[in-house]
Symmetry: C2
Subunit: 349 residues, 2 copies
């Protein structure tokens, strides 16, 4: 898919990107240490090639801060605990900072108990889901985490949205190359659909239903019907629902059916962070060997296209990350322009 590569883009040195994002976040009212951390997570998202959830989302974040949907000063806080499980509230502060703190605490608990869970209510968009998987895996922990969202996917058998696309992350430690799965419950995000639609490119696999109710690869038709497909049809529909209900039960916070349907007001999500310490039972050397054998088995499967072996989750991220550090972080021109506008608006308010 040469399209992604040929989109007009800038390459920005990682440190410059991080520093400029930090500057913006300071101007938006984040405390210095929090601005620095959030800026790093944001720049790392672009560095890793997840262009939809890094710098490109800052203008929206800024708008939400200005409109009072997100409180830049609000810090996550523990409100209840029982053994290895804790309940936190995000107080509608910046979602990536609350999620980072929650995963950090889940790992601390796992270090003590083998397992640890932090259930975070009343937070805001955590930006890139995978961020918190990489955070755990790079610290030597396995982890699962997920968030609920506003209703944006019809349940299997229905036409109108009642489920979230509830991204799920599963992360596995491996010194050479962590294995990190980051997947939403819809086959394609609406962001991805609009990118295909704008480029006039057919989806690689069916992504939803058209107005007539037929499965289609036409992104525009799915944007119009608002009938995105859950992964695995009835299966992803079920998985989305159980993740949402479990998040609402553990956090005591909002379920998808209680989150405003307006994407411009999507706050108050519930999230679950589960860390597991496999090193409490097995040495890191042995864990690395288990991961490497699994990676080798996937690579050894006969590829459909000669010379293009199947990949493991996270493999493409690591390749993009290395390229970004060598050549600079790729940011699409349109996103960069918006970011520079935001910088200007904050320096001359």
């Amino acid at each position: 898919m040469q399209y992604f590569i040929m989109d007009a883009m800038q390459r920005i040195a990682f440190d410059e990107l991080r520093a400029r994002v930090e500057h913006v976040l300071l101007a938006l009212g984040l405390e210095p240490a929090r601005a620095a951390l959030s800026a790093r997570l944001t720049a790392e998202t672009d560095r890793d090639g997840v262009k939809t959830h890094g710098v490109a989302r800052l203008p929206r974040f800024a708008r939400w801060v200005r409109e009072g949907w997100i409180n830049p000063a609000a810090k996550p806080e523990r409100v209840a605990a029982f053994g290895a499980i804790e309940r936190w509230t995000g107080h509608r502060g910046p979602g990536n900072l609350a999620a980072h703190a929650a995963m950090q605490r889940a790992m601390e608990i796992a270090g003590e108990h083998g397992l640890g869970c932090v259930a975070l209510a009343d937070t805001s968009h955590w930006m890139r889901a995978g961020t918190f998987g990489w955070q755990a895996a790079e610290a030597g922990f396995a982890a699962m985490c997920w968030t609920n969202t506003l209703p944006n996917v019809p349940p299997w058998g229905a036409k109108t949205p009642a489920l979230g696309n509830n991204p799920l992350v599963v992360a596995i430690p491996n010194d050479a190359a962590p294995i990190v799965l980051d997947m939403a419950m819809s086959q394609f995000s609406y962001g991805s659909l609009s990118s295909y639609a704008a480029r006039g490119v057919e989806l690689p696999v069916p992504g939803g239903f058209d107005a007539a109710g037929n499965l289609t690869r036409d992104a525009k038709a799915i944007e119009q019907s608002q009938r995105a497909l859950p992964i695995g049809f009835w299966k992803g529909s079920g998985l989305s629902m159980v993740l949402d209900v479990l998040a609402a039960m553990l956090t005591g916070g909002l379920a998808t059916n209680q989150i405003p349907r307006d994407p411009a007001k999507e706050v108050g999500q519930s999230q679950v962070f589960l860390a597991i310490a496999p090193q409490s039972l097995t040495s890191m050397e042995e864990l690395n060997a288990i991961a490497q054998r699994a990676i080798d088995a996937v690579h050894a499967a006969e590829p459909i296209e000669a010379g293009k072996p199947a990949r493991y989750p996270g493999e493409a991220v690591l390749a993009t990350r290395a390229e970004s550090m060598r050549l600079g972080v790729a940011v699409e021109d349109a996103a960069w322009e918006e970011f520079v506008k935001l910088e200007l608006s904050l320096s001359h308010p």
Copy 2:
């Protein structure tokens, strides 16, 4: 899909079915209490409408016991522990009994720590995955559990199997109606494909690739290519892999790449049982209300077919269960014939 209902079948009273299975298991060498439990789990599988994994699998189980692949006397045993996580081995005993003991222990730990995990190595086929989700949800716990399997699904981008279909269960307590998701990582099992092929019915959605590498709804073509589709294409491929690696790391047992590729010798699986006690943080009344609101939201979505609302995971099971208790448990004639043959062979060995 009238086909399933119109297949020639018997209706057997639940208690008779359970008692006759128990008799068979006693004859195969299981201790009385273990034969009784395994018989109940098996009869409940048919009662709940999961015909592929109940009585229909007993002839295979008997063959494996006779051939020494499964040791009917072997009991699961704890080999290591750290806080809320324990490592057990199944010693290749009956898989459903080992899994039931593992989930029971995970719930005990969760009762103490809020969360509990038992990682079970070297077990055998656990029969119906959902069994252990219902076990947890009916006891008031949320749970996740999964198993790895032999390599039977090609990773996305490859033609030859390197991943298992690794069934995953997520269970949610709800007094009126637990929500229990039981899903394999392939869109259709090979058992289901062969049933469609035998009936000459097209799959409702694409289920794999034909020999030419095109996505197809032709079950026979997929049986021939052995290229079953992971749910959500690249997404299920990734999810299958991380579940397998995490199971191998936590159990210290076999990964999919180490399990014999011959379905007649599929033993030694690794399984993870994670129990969560939401009641440690929230009353059961509140949990019931959260579940009911989510069920109501799914039911309220506008159905594709008028009068057929979308369903939540487990809803069909509960309907079938009620019917089975009223009319008797439906068992297909062919499966029943094989079961009666097995009974006879054991009473006149």
